[in-house]
Symmetry: C2
Subunit: 434 residues, 2 copies
């Protein structure tokens, strides 16, 4: 069988890692695929850069679109990044030129995935994107193929290693009796290379949301809908939140959650308190993990490195190998024409328990007033933690509620916020009993 | 595209579950595969049995071999069980008749997998066996496909739910201050249906070993070699072992381990003490989990239900879907001709730390004698736990060692066993610092 000819656009960490992998495993991949995998073309911004690896006889293209049209390329790997611009131009050109597309670009798929899937079918090519979600964990393959005998009911997980690293550090500090606030850990993560200089995409939840949008489409057979995701990041999580979580038997994690509910499909990314014994609670550091719930198989869990040169190039290579073996799978698990628009659940209708943190002036009647605000919205209190302070001092109070509708809870908190004895805007963290 | 025609041999829990799944998901599977999946033939021992599901218009075959030859069947699902006899006859007949084969039969593949893979290639058909290993977890797919860009260095896991259930119960009992011995938990597991009336295959480690033999072949590209596996079960694990493990910061798990070492490929199934913080330590009850170590991706972990109607039929369905989509993958990851016989490491050459439990007469000099036996074999003690008893009483002593060769350790224990003050044969559990 003839070699599979690969064009790589973008020679940064991932592209470079891929070149190294394809070189190191050349013989192994021939055995596994029954044909060689050759890098025949590359494109990057700076031709002269010293990258520490050899691109051999590959044709250099200054313009990624020219790489997409290179007659000597069967598969285009888009490793440029960015939801639009050159990455999008490359992807469209590749598909139109009849090349299979492998990408690590979650932002691009979250924005244009549904349209690109249609285009790919028109041109009879594959779009594969294992590296876009949870790095080296083959979760897309598990859901599109391994679990394809199931109807999915929910998928959730830790999809951003930066946030998980920060929350793990804050947690470990509390256990060690130290107080480490978000800003300090972020600065440290930036020094270690675990967070970007411009960290918003990660810490404000957008990166996890891009990945969730794609997983939702795979799980529920609906077009990617990034706009429908409720997104909150971890900037406002403080050491005291972590302390209370530990005291209550929880851990704070940034989860990305998609699930079927009576009011539609929920898609949300936000910090959660998860039971300390839940498998997802124990996923530490930069690791990612995904829990998939499905009707026949039940719950399966996948954990591994969510980023990094080796993990990401492993995922891209897996996609290339599938193409080399002639595998064909619809982009989001079913043909684009079968993707069904489904109602998305409004966040106000979400139902779950909550943890509320208040800072109060410790005076007679204040707890009764707060209880009344909650009762008026039919929010029922499950537990209350109040630390002793000197009378007249500000005192932190933490409440957990039974299941309540988010809209009702928000209205109750607005009323609480109006009380004179409530000194700071109430903080809320959702509890996920998963 | 025409429907994929499936013949199912064996209508027990798995076969019945598969019929239910294919019926319940008919429309979904058509969307996902681009064609219908039809059950066109079935075979089971008792035609008259009331199975609680409808086989529709499927042709009934009293003889599974006749089902294999049915011209109206594209894929044969072997769900009979047993390493030989009718299951083997069916598999061979199916392959020779040019039908793809899907099986849940680990014993059969552990014994005949290498030969069947050659036969399947000669006849141009697939052998798929996701359900044979770790139930609903798509681990075979992850290793043969998703991680196929990697060279594997190790794979290990909890592959037998019965053993994990028993060890979990014994562990929880200790935590609750009760003593629960192996025999009592086994009896309870049998009542609950978590253990067979004839439990040896599970509790003596053979089931896990069957699965490990297959995973080793996939990981290292060598022919399945069940004979090369060192197998110990969990019968001899007592509550006191679990107690000491907890005290030392470990948990006792039955692990199946395959890894590359300087002396060859290790394949072993035995109880281990694993650090309580290791991900694998927290896999409780009947769940299975597998940790895969590979050069580019690093470590990924897969957890889920290892058995049961839904989980197993999900795995079988995943294989059928792959076939319906036209996917082709070599049985053990590379073509049979590329499977390379590799040296297997002798157990005596295994290197690792150990935990040793002794019952001693508490008299002067006994510890010194034991220390001398260990020193003579260059086994170095890391820690010693001795519980206070009345002088002259029998006293349990637990030692952990630094890394030692298993052969040397065994020789040391033989010498220890000869000492007059050593009242019982020394017990040893390997420590896995994974």
């Amino acid at each position: 069988m003839t070699a599979l000819r690969v064009g790589i656009a973008g020679l940064g960490t991932v592209g470079g890692g891929l070149v190294k992998l394809l070189t190191a495993q050349r013989g192994l991949l021939e055995d596994r695929c029954g044909r060689f995998i050759e890098v025949t073309a590359v494109s990057a911004r700076n031709r002269g850069a010293d990258r520490g690896f050899d691109i051999g006889d590959a044709t250099w293209h200054d313009d990624p679109v020219a790489l997409a049209r290179d007659a000597n390329v069967d598969v285009v790997c888009e490793l440029i990044g960015g939801s639009d611009g050159p990455a999008l131009a490359l992807c469209e050109a590749a598909i139109i030129a009849g090349k299979h597309l492998v990408t690590a670009n979650k932002a691009l798929l979250a924005m244009h995935g549904a349209r690109l899937a249609v285009l790919a079918e028109e041109h009879g090519v594959e779009i594969r994107y294992e590296a876009a979600i949870a790095g080296g964990i083959p979760i897309v393959k598990a859901m599109r193929e391994g679990l394809a005998g199931n109807r999915f009911t929910g998928v959730f997980g830790i999809l951003n290693g930066t946030c998980n690293y920060i929350l793990t550090e804050m947690h470990d500090a509390v256990l060690a009796g130290r107080t480490l606030e978000f800003e300090a850990v972020l600065a440290e993560a930036q020094e270690l290379g675990y967070a970007e200089a411009e960290p918003s995409t990660d810490i404000d939840g957008f990166d996890a949301a891009h990945k969730l949008a794609i997983l939702t489409s795979v799980a529920f057979g609906c077009p990617v809908n990034f706009e429908a995701i409720h997104i909150e990041g971890i900037r406002h999580i403080s050491a005291v939140d972590i302390e209370y979580a530990i005291e209550l038997g929880y851990r704070v994690k940034l989860l990305a959650i998609a699930r079927e509910t009576a009011t539609g499909i929920e898609q949300r990314v936000h910090p959660c308190m998860v039971p300390a014994r839940a498998p997802i609670a124990r996923v530490d550091g930069v690791n990612n993990a995904i829990e998939v719930q499905a009707d026949f198989v039940g719950t399966t869990i996948y954990e591994g490195p969510g980023a990094g040169e080796g993990a990401t190039s492993s995922a891209v290579a897996g996609d290339i190998i599938d193409i080399a073996r002639g595998q064909r799978t619809p982009t989001f698990g079913v043909p684009a024409a079968k993707l069904e628009r489904r109602p998305f659940a409004p966040m106000d209708r979400m139902v779950g328990p909550y943890c509320i943190r208040l800072m109060l002036l410790d005076e007679p009647g204040v707890i009764a007033d707060i209880a009344a605000c909650l009762r008026d919205q039919k929010v029922s209190v499950e537990s209350m933690l109040q630390r002793a302070r000197n009378p007249g001092d500000a005192v932190p109070v933490v409440l957990t509620t039974h299941e309540a509708e988010e809209g009702a809870l928000r209205r109750a908190l607005e009323a609480v916020d109006q009380l004179d004895a409530v000194l700071e805007t109430p903080r809320m963290i959702r509890i996920e009993t998963i």
